[in-house]
């Protein structure tokens, strides 16, 4: 964290607010995120208030306009859960109906097809093959006890097959001390980056965002970023990261500086 005298005033205010609310541990980038959110929220409110005040043919924006703007935005962006009496009411109604009897011999018990997702009209086109062909790596998903390079048999039922413990009971040995090093050869990362056209045509939300920039092609600068965000649980993560970074080059700056893990829920799609 930057020393206090070089931190701008609004960041200091934000740090103070976080401290007052009892939040003591946070990553330094949280301050930036909070400041961005504040800036965007205030700007939206003030713009709305300006519109209302011109509509009311007032010369200046006053507190009533701001209040109205806040009220309208609250219903849109910050929806709070229903009040308790409402919940108790619907709970009472719902709980009056007896539990439905279960028909025997019906196969998989699923709701009517209309409510299921069993008929997708899309297919995930992931490029696992290309990834796995190169160096056959990303062994991380195989999180078994033991070193990554060797492949010990995972504990079968009842017999912990890891070396130290065996079938001896009574020695409360925890095996957490074993550390594994996951090698991430740079060649692997380089191969991973190739061909990340992870397109997801008709799926909403998170993946839809990826599709908005079909022109984005991964370029070599992304390799370094892959290394920086080595969430190598699966190739999917790498795909997301690289795509986001490549979108960065197209100028969409606000939301993409963050790692994909940071769920910016307020950044409505």
């Amino acid at each position: 964290m930057a020393s206090p005298k070089t931190v701008p005033k609004d960041a200091q205010v934000m740090m103070q607010i976080l401290k007052d609310m009892g939040i003591t541990e946070y990553e330094p980038r949280v301050i930036n995120q909070m400041l961005e959110f504040t800036y965007r929220y205030i700007t939206t409110i003030i713009e709305d208030a300006k519109i209302y005040s011109t509509h009311a043919k007032k010369s200046t924006v006053d507190a009533d306009d701001i209040r109205l703007a806040i009220q309208c935005r609250v219903d849109q962006s910050f929806i709070s859960p229903p009040p308790r009496d409402f919940l108790l009411d619907i709970a009472r109604q719902k709980n009056q109906t007896p539990l439905p009897l279960i028909k025997p011999y019906t196969g998989p018990r699923l709701p009517p097809d209309r409510y299921c997702l069993t008929a997708p009209n899309y297919r995930l086109k992931s490029l696992q093959k290309k990834v796995s062909s190169s160096a056959g790596r990303i062994t991380v998903p195989r999180l078994s006890v033991g070193a990554v390079s060797s492949r010990p048999s995972t504990p079968t039922l009842g017999t912990p097959s890891v070396q130290t413990v065996g079938t001896k009971v009574g020695t409360p040995v925890s095996l957490t001390g074993q550390r594994f090093t996951v090698q991430i050869p740079s060649s692997q990362a380089a191969s991973v980056k190739s061909g990340h056209e992870y397109c997801l045509k008709s799926h909403g939300n998170l993946f839809g965002k990826m599709c908005t920039n079909p022109a984005a092609t991964p370029t070599t600068p992304t390799v370094q970023n892959v290394l920086i965000n080595p969430s190598l649980i699966g190739s999917k993560n790498i795909l997301i990261t690289t795509n986001m970074v490549s979108q960065n080059s197209s100028g969409d700056s606000t939301s993409l500086k963050r790692k994909h893990e940071d769920e910016d829920d307020y950044d409505a799609l």
Binding site: M21, I70, V74, I79, S80, P81, P82, P83, R84, D85, L87, L88, D89, I90, A91, R92, K94, N95, L99, P100, I102, P108, R109, L110, P111, P112, Y115, C116, L117, V140, P141, R142, L143, V145, S153, T154, P155, L157, G158, V169, G170, T171, P172, V173, S174, T176, G177, R179, F180, V182, N205, L206, P230, S231, I233, G234, K236, H260, E261, E263
Partner: protein
Amino acid sequence: MAAVQDGQMELDAEKETKPEILSDGTSNLSGNTASGTLSSSPLTAAPAGGAPKMEDQQTLIAVLQFLKRNKLTDSVEILRREAGLGEDQEDSQATDGSGGGKGDVDGGDANSLLSRVSITSAAAPQSMCDSPLMFMLSAAGADDQPDVSVVLSAYSQQGDPSLYQVYYSGLKNFIESVLDCHRAELSQLFYPLFVHMYLELVYNNHENEAKAFFEKFSGDQECYYQDDLRVLCGLTKKEHLKGNEVLLDFRTSRFVLRISRDSYQLLKRHLQERHNNQIWNIIQEHLYIDIFDGMPRSKSQIDSMSGSLAGEGKREVNKAKVFHGLLKEPEIEVPLDDEDDEAENEEGKPKKKKTKKDSLGSKSKKQDPNAPQQNRIPLPELKDSDKLDKIMYMKESTKRIRLGPENLPSICFYTFLNAYQGLTAVDFTDDSSLLAGGFADSTVRVWSVTPKKLRKVKSAADLNMIDKESDDVLERIMDEKTASESKILYGHSGPVYGVSFSPDRNYLLSSSEDGTVRLWSLLTFTCLVGYKGHNYPVWDTQFSPFGYYFVSGGHDRVARLWATDHYQPLRIFAGHLADVTCTRFHPNSNYVATGSTDRTIRLWDVLNGNCVRIFTGHKGPIHSLAFSPNGKFLASGSTDGRVLLWDIGHGLMIGELKGHTDTIYSLKFSRDGEILASGSMDNTVRLWNSMKAFDEVETDDFTATTGHIHLPDNSQELLLGTYHSKSTPVTHLHFTRRNLLLAAGAYNSQ
């Protein structure tokens, strides 16, 4: 008025409070009796219909008053005629509403009622009744609240704002001057009174007085309320209150205090002697005092039970009969030839043959009186594959290691590497063959723990070509080309906070911040259904022990019971004041326990959705729950680092396990219930001697009527071992069928 808006339980409470206060006090009974009887008459209507009718009545009356104020006399007449409201009824309703505030003799009190409201009010009592409603309605106009009932629960001012500090200090001095035995009990009053008085000041726009009040008295409150006070500190304007539904619920619900009769008499006498007993008004309106006869409780007893956002549980809440016994196991014939492969040693064989016969059913043929009927709730019938599973289960349990203080389990820890704080949920199948992890990047990953790889079912075209009559058809339907160690399931659009395998290992549930619960098939590894109901993050979900049903709990403060073949929930368990963070089924699938951020645990009946138990005592949000295998006890862990043990049948706390220093995210009983394992964010797994903790309970003489518990401070004796991981918080614990303890967590490099 505040109590009317709540559910039936609160209505009963209101009915009980008034008679209780009536029978004790020497105050002017006329006002109270009038409102008491009048309030009871609408309440004697049918329970289901009673509460909604009351709410509608209130709304209509509020509208009527509003029209009157605006001198729309014709509309008043029309409305009165159509709604069937009598003249006296609305007055009495109004009296009922402010009855809490007017329950006293003092003329001074009436004067204060008059003086506080700035709206024109004649000296007639009529307008005195009107004024609180008027005040609330003007607030309604300003806020444009769609929900009138919330508005009607607003604070009516109880006196001059600048004198609040005086009132509070007066009470403080009084309580400090009473006898020691009463002081502990009466000190329970401080926190709810403080919060309600502060909220009143804020709601009525007295910001400066509110701030001064807060600064002066917030330091006196108990340490375990500090988190709440910090939230309160940030609320200085009325607008801030609007978005905070936890505090809204706190305002409308009644904080429950359990005080002995002697202490209560003392308090009542003191408050009614005084000229300005605004505090008495607040107590009547916002607090529920559950009086019991007997010795006043000591400070430690009170401390162990308090801490929740709604005070303690009322006595009668925990008196309902709970069927905590287990369901009878179905009779299954075990084929003999399978046993021959397993048996290596001679003494193994006869042992197994014996257990085959009597391990299935309980030893006695009689129905356990504490067990529910088999058909109390509809349960799915056993399919052939389920019967095979049961046979495997029995075989495994014969090889089960008997654990005990001298025989501790081995612990096998599965560490997730490179998860970067993204691991948010873990579950194991019951036979420990599969492991699922929910992650903050909205994926769910399934791993095979055994050497057997995960395979998808072949496509329909390929399935046509296989020989359906062959013995190994179940292997043939699997597509070898798709074999892999792990599979990733995509579909959620937010971090996955809960995962749960079905008992038959065919399905996986995952609940996420996007508000949906998704059902995945573990044969095709695709998503089958998305259950939409919570529109807010769903913090936890769990399949029932028999499959078919599952429960989910989320930010909207309710838990929902679903069945896989209904797209809407079957039951809604509403009652918590804050988010439901943890949901667990009882082993007999008839009850659901929910832990919440309001620091209480509630036990719900699946059959009719009623809350049958409320357990208070935790000082922080509850994040883990575990039922003992025999169904009698419940263990809970929270952010305060303590594990509390509860007796479900009696509804009491029976043990407290101290030792952890950080939030406890996982609790699991061993297969026979002798050992309780707890895993926490402080990177340790601790083993506790639950057998001993429960044994001590059985022999004690319960003071079940008063519910006083005196917890022995024996955490050190019960602790059997502490096992540290280097830097990995423990997210999940699981005992295999042979009593090996598996633990899972994500390596935290910081």
